[in-house]
Symmetry: C2
Subunit: 483 residues, 2 copies
């Protein structure tokens, strides 16, 4: 894999109030490993580095330049980059086609220069986050240094930073996250194509507002979705959203009906929020290529079972009634009163004996009548003195309960999902949240996906299954759906 070995920040400044100064600071703090050059004709030293007045003055080869100068100065700077033999630039500066006629002209000029032999990401973007290459976006100095199988493209700089930031703690690692802004040269098609070919990237995700070339994008999605899932959050499909998208990245968002068809026919997975994007990514990371929609929910409480069944069926999953034989078997395991064995299974309370939970899961999994088991809202985190007290009184701990689904996954190879909600939101209850996050990490490390609510788990699971159903339909119809 090629990563830029030398990088010039044009518009680098001592002032952290300026984009170029902040970007340089962020890059230094993230730990870019290649040769870094600061370019600024007005400042001779910035953040401990000597500067060059112009990029042409740099005595060595430059692989990548980041441009953070006022919009009007950008076309000239790009010319200099081209002359210097730089292969690629990213333009952080705003004030282009999103800002009116003058900006449109400037952006067209940049695009013309790009066509002469330099690739341009942006303008109006936050850069590229690439842990392996030591690159990060603004203001991503604290993003994970670990690389992973998820690629993310974002027309929005805000989401380009928010998605990897919020992904931290959910076991989601990125190969690259790319803020591509107005896309005057490198656009969503190029980036999806890149991730399609990138062996490191298994799951492609994106936030997009508009596409330049609709037919190309659609054909590309059709092609890519045969082997890699593409999870897309399409912004601007309402009237107000479309207007905002136009102000933001000069995008024409397109019609909701058209986009419905694009998703349906390409097999790309449609999500409608940042949360759903992350939830669905977790499903693809942690679950096998599931086809069946039959779910068993195991919870500790009758109301939770009712809500779980409602949520699953609303998400397009089924919660099948267990056979009389399986019900009888389960009835011999759960407490005689206050439990339920028909599916959802209510083990009688949120703090079940580990051996009882084990027997329930064994009975369900060995029967093979469901495709996925969701373990919902049991008290799996040792969250306080209270829990420890309950553990003492009962003779088993939350940790011992938590081990059960992990064992079951290992023994049966079964798809299991965990719902672990934030129970207490009080500012004085942070230790609960700490224990909850530790428990979540325990499951993630053992390969079990964790969700905050049953609704979100069900939606993510349904998105996953829908993708594989589409893939099956495509491959069984031979050449795919015609357009």
């Amino acid at each position: 894999m090629f990563y830029p070995k030398s990088h010039a920040v044009i518009g680098a400044s001592a002032s952290l109030q300026k984009f170029g100064g902040r970007f340089l600071g962020v890059l230094l703090s993230f730990g870019y490993g290649g040769r870094l050059y600061a370019v600024n004709p007005q400042e001779s030293q910035v953040q401990g580095m000597e500067t060059y007045a112009r990029v042409g003055d740099i005595p060595e080869t430059v692989d990548l330049a980041t441009i953070a100068v006022p919009a009007r100065a950008v076309p000239g700077v790009i010319e200099e980059c081209l002359a210097k033999g730089i292969k690629a630039v990213q333009i952080l500066s705003a004030g282009f086609s999103e800002a009116g006629e003058e900006g449109k002209g400037l952006e067209a000029e940049v695009a013309r220069t790009a066509a002469r032999g330099i690739r341009v990401v942006g303008p109006n973007c936050f850069g590229i986050y690439c842990p392996d290459g030591g690159l990060t976006i603004l203001p991503g100095e604290n993003l994970s240094r670990e690389s992973g199988p998820v690629g993310f493209i974002s027309q929005s700089g805000g989401y380009a930073i928010r998605v990897p930031r919020r992904a931290s703690g959910w076991g989601i690692k990125f190969s690259k996250a790319i803020s591509y802004g107005n896309a005057c040269d490198v656009n969503e098609c190029d980036l999806v194509e890149y991730f399609y070919q990138d062996p490191e990237t298994r799951i492609i995700t994106g936030y997009i507002e508009g596409v330049r070339d609709g037919p190309r994008f659609f054909r590309l999605l059709q092609e890519v979705c045969r082997t890699k899932p593409v999870i897309l959050w399409k912004g601007g499909l309402t009237q107000g959203g479309a207007r905002a998208a136009h102000s933001h990245t000069a995008s024409l968002s397109g019609d909701e009906a058209v986009w419905d068809a694009v998703f349906r026919q390409s097999g790309a997975i449609r999500v409608n929020s940042l949360e759903e994007l992350l939830d669905t990514t977790i499903a693809f990371l942690y679950l096998p290529p599931l086809r069946g929609r039959r779910v068993c929910v195991v919870g500790g409480g009758g109301g939770i079972g009712v809500a779980a069944a409602d949520a699953c069926e609303r998400a397009g999953l089924s919660v099948p009634l267990f056979s009389a034989g399986l019900q009888e078997k389960l009835a011999g395991i759960v407490p005689p009163a206050g439990a339920s064995v028909r599916n959802p299974v209510d083990v009688g309370g949120p703090f079940p004996a580990p051996q009882m939970l084990r027997a329930v899961l064994e009975a369900v999994l060995s029967e093979g009548v469901v495709d996925t088991v969701i373990v919902s809202e049991l008290e799996l985190a040792r969250i306080s003195g209270l829990m420890q007290g309950r553990a003492q009184m009962r003779g088993y701990t939350s940790e011992e309960i938590a081990e059960v689904p992990v064992d079951m996954k290992n023994r049966f190879g079964a798809p299991l999902m965990i719902v672990l909600p934030v129970e207490a939101m009080g500012a004085d209850a942070l230790e609960f949240e700490g224990a909850r996050r530790d428990t979540r990490d325990y499951f993630l490390n053992k390969g079990l996906p964790v969700y905050l609510t049953l609704e979100r788990a069900a939606r993510a699971l349904s998105n996953l299954i829908g993708y594989y159903e589409h893939r099956d339909a495509i491959s069984s119809s031979g050449s795919g759906i015609t357009t």
Copy 2:
């Protein structure tokens, strides 16, 4: 207000593994202020208390009894309570109509005894949480001791504890939260009627699975919704959910189409999850009786504006385009590039100068062209060294930004909502969450509602407005919608 001054726990035990033992422990630890009696013929001392073999042996008047003995023993115990002159009991025991034919018979027996002059809550319930009366539900020893204007009824014991537990930290306080289980005597109609008359309760909320008397419930909702909002989460409306509800509380859940009509015609507010129930309650607690659906979103980022507009319009709100005059005014305030003034307003970044944010909000609010302003995803919490660094570099702090919406609310009396997401989910990022919760509490204390996502804020706001729209329609049509 009358609260039980003496309370007998029948089936009280030294063992915390038994329901009666746990309930007594929880009540003692919550701090019941009246006279408490433990009844158990097998144990002479439990948790530091002398016991009575039978409730009839208690030498003084008993106002309330909690029954936690095996189902088969319950009818006899109720007879004794009746003989003792006790006015009301709550039955925690399970194993009644939800558990088959024998249980059905036992429940019918209990109901017959109730009809002879004793009110029964349950069976198969977790009790009543009433901070003023010193009563709590199982296992609610840690619930808030502070009373408030929200009443909650729950057919599920699990949600009866989860709703007040999760409400902690969102500024929601309860007058009473009542787990009513199988409702063999006191049912959802009685309880809604009670809250309707209860001067302490301004907002009625509930989780219900089935209703005993549909027409009475419908007429009651119609009546109550004229003056008090009723926020209902109806479980069991899918096939799987209905089956689970039947196993859980022997409820017949009813048809989704029927319930659609009940909600539409009564004006009760329909919610579909615990989260939406709490979000909507927060809206009623913190916002005035809003009628208009015009929203202005002020955020720090273009993508956030696009997503916000999409979320608002999908929730049935409108994000109207600002007039040329207002746009011009705003354009003179926000940064020249990377901002947007059409609505949503993008102030250019998530860390705006307080005076700039103030000028933007003043311009929008003094124009009077929107009904609500949502301030979304600005960096309002001083969440780390990083933020302090940015504050130093810019010369203003997150606290100073946070003061602005509070001032605006005070000056304009304007409905303002705050979206404050959980930014970092890592187990090592708890200090962020701590600062976020402190900032949330700051806003709640100043009377501004806070939400985790824009989608949830928009949905809650739409639920609030829908209620008042219905009320207006009812009152303008005179006698209300006929049935």
